[in-house]
Symmetry: C2
Subunit: 242 residues, 2 copies
Amino acid sequence: MSKGTLYGVGIGPGDPELMTLKAARLIAAAPVIAFFAKKGRTGHARRIVEGRLHAEVLELRLEYPFTTEISVADPAYLADMGVFYEACARDLAAHLDEGRDVAVLCEGDPFFYGSFMYLFDRLKDHYTHEVIPGVTGMAGCWTSAGAPMTHGDDVLSVLPGTLDEDGLALRLAQCDAAVIMKVGRNLPKIRRALARAGLMERALYVERGTMDDQHIERLADKRDEPAPYFSIVLVPGRQRPR
Amino acid sequence: MSKGTLYGVGIGPGDPELMTLKAARLIAAAPVIAFFAKKGRTGHARRIVEGRLHAEVLELRLEYPFTTEISVADPAYLADMGVFYEACARDLAAHLDEGRDVAVLCEGDPFFYGSFMYLFDRLKDHYTHEVIPGVTGMAGCWTSAGAPMTHGDDVLSVLPGTLDEDGLALRLAQCDAAVIMKVGRNLPKIRRALARAGLMERALYVERGTMDDQHIERLADKRDEPAPYFSIVLVPGRQRPR
């Protein structure tokens, strides 16, 4: 019996119509889909593909072991996540060994800050695989904000809000456009770093971009409260004369 | 008579199946499509949508005034491009004023290094508009290369190969993953900057990613000849233990 193929399928930033034609075709045909979800939640990826799955699909729900955010610097986090990803990879392998293709649903793009990569790393040498790129969450956000991001020779930096203030300010000073992810509890620090780099006036705050309940405002107008997981800060590049 | 709507439609990195469901729907319905092309060429964007257009579509070909690359630092370039974009905007406006929707085909994502932004800036205050994000060329490239790009807290920088060697080396030293665009004649300089930042071993060279004739190799193995327009250099982020 031949083994199944592992697909990593980018399903885009949230609006179901922003998945690619190829993603829609593969998801409709997949005998098994797998997706990550937080405990007690439907799973954001699962919601995006609602109504598009094969009638007899088997669903593999991969539930994160943590319900709240733990610092990635914590050794316990790394160890527990390693055990979790190992178990997920074994679950997928069981289907692949039985000859069933498995499509892993990936929010945004599979190779851009995605959990899928930890399964890919464990399985790629043992199974045929194909990855389908997707529209990133950040592209969904800058589109929703009506904000042209990068022109001509702009330098763009994508920065985690978890960097310390000096690290953020240093990198912000050397780019024309920036995306700051993992805003969460880091908003006051991000704000200080942007001010030091002289970028506060251009900064936009985007919550749940492309989703029904999206919220966008100038960061300068935003209150300093903790931000939800799906929030990012955008600094559009300089407008060039042309 | 009501005016038409301006659509900026991201059509993805090259493989026609990597456009979004929404892009395909809007393109099939558009009474007018517009796209940029070089003199004497079909136009890359036009080729991607072949077979998907409305039977009675009007096609607006926007032909760049230059056949070879001119430095963006040259004042003549800026002035000539300004005249060109003004003329393009007037051509689009004529259709919009007649009540016809116009879909501008945008390779990759419209707000990410796209010529569409120069039309958007000129027309957005006068017409209803909607922008549809797309899969970027760089996401197409890293997927084709089988290269997971960014994990966890990685810093990603997108750099134009036109930066000077010191500017490239400085920014490369402060990121975990990098994408270098506009490789063209800048390859020897890019190579020196990557070597100074200690990133040469991880660097990949990708030509025409996701297209039928794509070519991928380690940058260390690549000969020092001028690279075509659709080539980029990828530096995948560090592989994290997990």
